[in-house]
Symmetry: C2
Subunit: 387 residues, 2 copies
């Protein structure tokens, strides 16, 4: 299965399918737009849902354009309400664009992928043009956006400049003359603004295709790095394997559907007959996609050893100058914790073992004149030894 | 009575009076802003309410700035919804500014009156600055404006650009560093936006002073040229006299209050004792203000003659080439009607007389080989004659 079929299989909405078929048949090279945050991405399987659709479009010869929202990124949030949106410098936004390109071209075709910065056209707009742009949309329609509506109706602050953002994002489609814009279902409203604005600017309106948001390993929230419920596409094979085994059973089919090309009918049968094997097969598949088939066996062996309580063969060794070291300092030193307070939390959660014995005291002093095996969680191991 | 007293007597709101007193006491030359439409004005008594307040400020040494909204005037209404707001050219807005100056300096001191065009600063705003400006105001607060609220709540179209207008008007105060802005009560919301924005831009907020809207001769609507319920400050003494006599009795006190300096206690007594004389005195007063005392007597005599059904002595004579002419064409020719259809309406309303005989037929042919007196309404007369 490939091309439009995969795209249509996974899409939640295509507005409109008729127009899409028509554009595809006409044989022209199309511009497929995807909006991207100016913050630097760390791609995980959640991102791959739309990236895989984009790849299919590229295989059919079309061009993919990532629009980095650097213009608003450089402004930040002037109302000061959104603290996660500090102003970025020109250099920072360019750097995030480069990182974006590097990351997405792990999946996409370099030749058919372009990064565009919306400051290119937005910085040229003057007040007259802003007025013309905003005259094309009514207050009532913009307040239909769920989050705006809720804030307005619940008397939470909603500044006028926030209404301008969807219009600017929509204007990106006008500036690029986008043929198709794709995104997660949470972007539907913004994508449709682009479509409406193109009509107002006498352009052929873009086709809007939305995809489901992949649920994270917690089975509840959308996959995201900040919730630590993700499988990164850059993670090591053994980590991928272990995480794949943790996907909630009821979510596994969605993972197969949205992140692999495998035949869903066969997958359904497998899940019903042998859920463990279904997890294993999924783990093997994503390692194959992001690392290569040759990495599957080792990752699987390691997983099995650890699962049986064993210690894998290929543990990293670290030599330290100290003869004695506090357990928390040690955890930070070997990079199993990013801070002493994280280290304390790990110990207090009974997640830290020394030579297979759980460490209970955060003040414990480890003697490493003799080699010790330090373990965090199920699968993080390291040998520590005095030099 | 003069100065602050007159201003305070007539003001509906002063926000705040304490701040006003403080600014006045500090002795600095203040900038008093008044927003003006870019369409060419034809001043009537309604306008004089604020102009008289401005004059008092000038007498106290302050500077009056008329801000001509040429920037939006040049854009027109891009949504195409407001047909009374077609785009104007640069030349047109400059011409209206000059006309404005000429008209208002009939009342105001030329030396202390300035015209400013808001394109001077608004045309320089880019999208970034527009976003910063709009971040300073919430949607909820702007939708408190009565007309916005009504349209939004009744599902009538309200485009986003319309929300920008009050902010732009408010930004005018920021750009000018206005100390005081005055306007009619219908402008209260917009004036307060200016005050709020100045605070956001770390300026001392302008004092807002609003004045009542003078009711028109119909006793119902605000005085306006388009409703033909006005007394123009350029009108001839005899027309002023006649119109003044038509002011509804119950409105006369307001006319005295808002458009003259006369003692209101005495006026109240006069109105109670002799309403006709109260009208006459008002008529005399406005002729005195806008033409001079020497014009009062003639205007009064003419009014009295006409009131008794007589024909005034000083009728204009017009000589035509034709010997015969259709009554409607004649009305247009002598400028008693601006079109044939207006002429028809005048005839059908029994408002047209020829030698004191009402004309009933719109196809009537007037023979002007002999001089005829044409009369429209009570007081428009002309002698027409073949050359």
């Amino acid at each position: 299965m490939k091309g439009l079929e995969i795209i249509k299989r996974n899409a939640v909405q295509i507005i409109s399918e008729e127009e899409l078929n028509k554009k595809m048949e006409n044989g022209k090279k199309l511009k497929i737009k995807l909006g991207a945050d100016p913050s630097r991405p760390d791609l995980h399987l959640g991102h791959t849902v739309v990236l895989r659709a984009l790849k299919e479009f590229q295989k059919m010869g079309h061009e993919v354009i990532f629009v980095i929202g650097d213009y608003t990124g450089m402004i930040g949030d002037p109302s000061g309400k959104n603290k996660t949106r500090p102003a970025l410098t020109f250099e920072e936004t360019r750097k995030s664009g480069e990182t974006y390109f590097k990351q997405v071209t792990k999946i996409l075709d370099k030749e058919k992928t372009r990064i565009a910065y919306n400051s290119e056209w937005l910085s040229k707009l003057n007040l007259k043009e802003v007025i013309e742009l905003t005259s094309k949309y009514t207050v009532a329609r913009i307040l239909e956006r769920e989050d705006f509506k809720n804030r307005y109706e619940n008397n939470l602050p909603l500044s006028i400049h926030e209404l301008l953002y969807p219009l600017m994002q929509g204007y990106d489609s006008v500036a690029l003359k986008a043929d198709i814009e794709i995104g997660g279902t949470d972007q539907t409203f913004n994508l449709l603004v682009g479509r409406e604005l193109q009509k107002e600017f006498s352009q052929e309106p873009q086709i809007v295709i939305t995809f489901p948001l992949l649920v994270g390993l917690d089975g509840k929230n959308k996959m995201s790095k900040s919730l630590d419920n993700y499988i990164g596409i850059d993670e090591k094979p053994e980590i991928m394997y272990e995480k794949a085994m943790k996907i909630p059973d009821e979510c596994l089919l969605q993972y197969y559907q949205l992140t692999t090309d495998m035949d869903l009918e066969k997958v359904k049968t497998l899940i019903e007959e042998d859920i463990l094997l279904a997890h294993r097969k999924y783990a093997r598949e994503i390692i194959k996609i992001y690392h290569g088939e040759e990495y599957v066996k080792d990752a699987e062996n390691r997983y099995d050893t650890v699962a049986k309580g064993g210690i894998p063969e290929d543990i990293k060794e670290i030599f330290l100058k100290e003869k004695e070291i506090n357990i928390c300092d040690l955890l930070v030193k070997v990079e199993f914790a990013t801070s002493k307070s994280e280290a304390k939390r790990l110990i207090m959660g009974n997640g830290v073992k020394l030579d297979n014995k759980t460490v209970e005291n955060i003040h414990f002093i480890v003697n490493i004149e003799e080699e010790k095996i330090l373990r965090v969680g199920k699968s993080k191991f390291v040998k520590v030894k005095n030099e």
